[in-house]
């Protein structure tokens, strides 16, 4: 049996924390671009114009999503760190309260009061360990809670870009506009299924990963279909009256 390497495990957990950005970016890139291709294919006659618009949409989307993820994570991290500093300052002024709260948290996890007391007492010999443990057990705050704005932004942008290529590449490679669109939508469905299958089904050890793939595909395509129907419903509102 391979020895457990805590550092390797920690790195794995940190990488897995970025699944959200990857899945979000791919799904958004795939659907946004497929939507642009489908929408413009009906309205614009020239295939090159559709491709140009889709490329522009991809570039803008990747930058926007990347910047959004960067700014979002940055704001979240700053707020959390500031709150954590405040909690730490308060805790240092009231060590008894921290000890009692940690004791209660350990008791809730099934430790006897006496065992919890001894653990808290041992931790109290190293205040840094006491406060770190208290923050994790009492407030659910831990180092892994904080994302990295730069990596989150880059991952989101690149994932969006890769997702956008899924319907765009077949569309560009197939000469016929109609067949290109069908090929693009087909690869979109396949990749959405694959993302759900891999990230939600396989990585989380689900019994039936195919169900996870179908669920992901259904939710993503369902959202796109609802958006399309809403577009059809509100289209008459923007129509210019004849005469």
């Amino acid at each position: 049996m391979a020895a457990l390497d805590p550092q390797a495990k920690r790195r794995t957990f940190e990488r897995l924390a970025n699944v959200r950005e990857i899945v979000f970016g791919i799904q958004d890139g795939v659907l946004t671009t497929a939507g642009v291709l489908a929408g413009l294919s009906g309205a614009v006659a020239q295939r090159s114009q559709v491709i140009l618009a889709a490329l522009a949409s991809t570039a803008a989307g990747a930058l926007s999503m990347g910047a959004g993820a960067y700014l979002g994570t940055r704001a979240e991290t700053r707020i959390l760190r500031s709150e954590m500093r405040r909690v730490r300052q308060e805790s240092q002024g009231q060590p008894y309260v921290v000890q009692e709260s940690l004791l209660a948290a350990l008791a809730k996890e099934g430790l006897s009061r006496e065992a919890g007391y001894r653990i808290v007492q041992l931790l109290s010999a190293a205040p840094q360990a006491l406060y770190n443990t208290a923050e994790e057990k009492i407030y659910g705050l831990a180092g892994a809670t904080f994302g990295n704005p730069l990596s989150d932004g880059l991952l989101m942008g690149v994932a969006f870009l890769l997702g956008a290529l899924v319907p765009l590449l077949p569309f560009m490679l197939v000469a016929s506009l109609r067949l290109g669109l069908i090929a693009g939508l087909a690869t979109t469905a396949i990749v959405l299924f694959a993302v759900g299958y891999a990230f939600e089904g396989r990585l989380s050890d689900q019994r039936y990963p195919a169900v996870a793939g179908l669920r992901f595909l259904g939710i993503a395509m369902g959202a796109a279909a609802i958006g399309y129907v809403i577009g059809l419903l509100i289209a008459p509102l923007g129509a210019v009256p004849a005469g």
Partner: protein, 174 residues
């Protein structure tokens, strides 16, 4: 919560004292006065400061013919281990498992399932002479409890912050 003048509910409960398990009843306490202090739990980080405080001041309470009894909802074995953890205590800890005694004294915190941090001083007739409750996160003042015992035993009207040796009027504090 009981108030001064109320009869103190009797008890006969398991206790830990001197690293042994036994029973203690209110009627079995022969001292003139009794300090009965409720505290939330054994093995906590606020309680020991006052439990140890009472232990350190036990000679002064003895000199006032006053017994000290601690009470919590923990069982007697827990009390014994807790007292040992604290280096031994010079007074018994009553095991009010279930909190019935705390309920009778009106100091049971149903939400926490523990007693409030409350102190009762019982007089020679085992009537409540003094009662006070503190927030759970604030420890009591042992010296204040001792001051009140002395004031009660003086039999005089004692002004604010009275201490032994200060003037006290038998009739009118003004």
């Amino acid at each position: 919560m009981l108030k001064p003048g109320d009869a103190a509910p009797a008890f006969d409960l398991p206790c830990a004292f001197d690293d042994k398990l036994s029973h203690l009843s209110l009627s079995g306490i022969r001292s003139e006065m009794v300090v009965l202090f409720f505290y939330p739990r054994d093995f906590s980080f606020i309680c020991p400061t006052e439990v140890i405080g009472f232990h350190k001041a036990r000679a002064a309470f003895n000199a006032e013919h006053t017994s000290i009894v601690g009470v919590s909802v923990d069982d007697a074995e827990s009390h014994r281990r807790w007292a040992r953890e604290l280096g031994g205590l010079g007074f018994p800890l009553l095991a009010d498992a279930g909190g019935n005694l705390a309920r009778e004294y009106g100091v049971f915190d149903a939400a926490e399932g523990t007693a409030l941090r409350a102190t009762f001083i019982l007089d020679a007739k085992r009537l409540v002479a003094y009662a006070v409750a503190s927030p759970v996160n604030v420890g009591r003042s042992v010296s204040e409890t001792l001051r009140v015992v002395r004031a009660l035993r003086s039999g005089k009207l004692c002004p604010a912050d009275w201490v032994p040796g200060a003037d006290a009027s038998p009739a009118d504090p003004d």
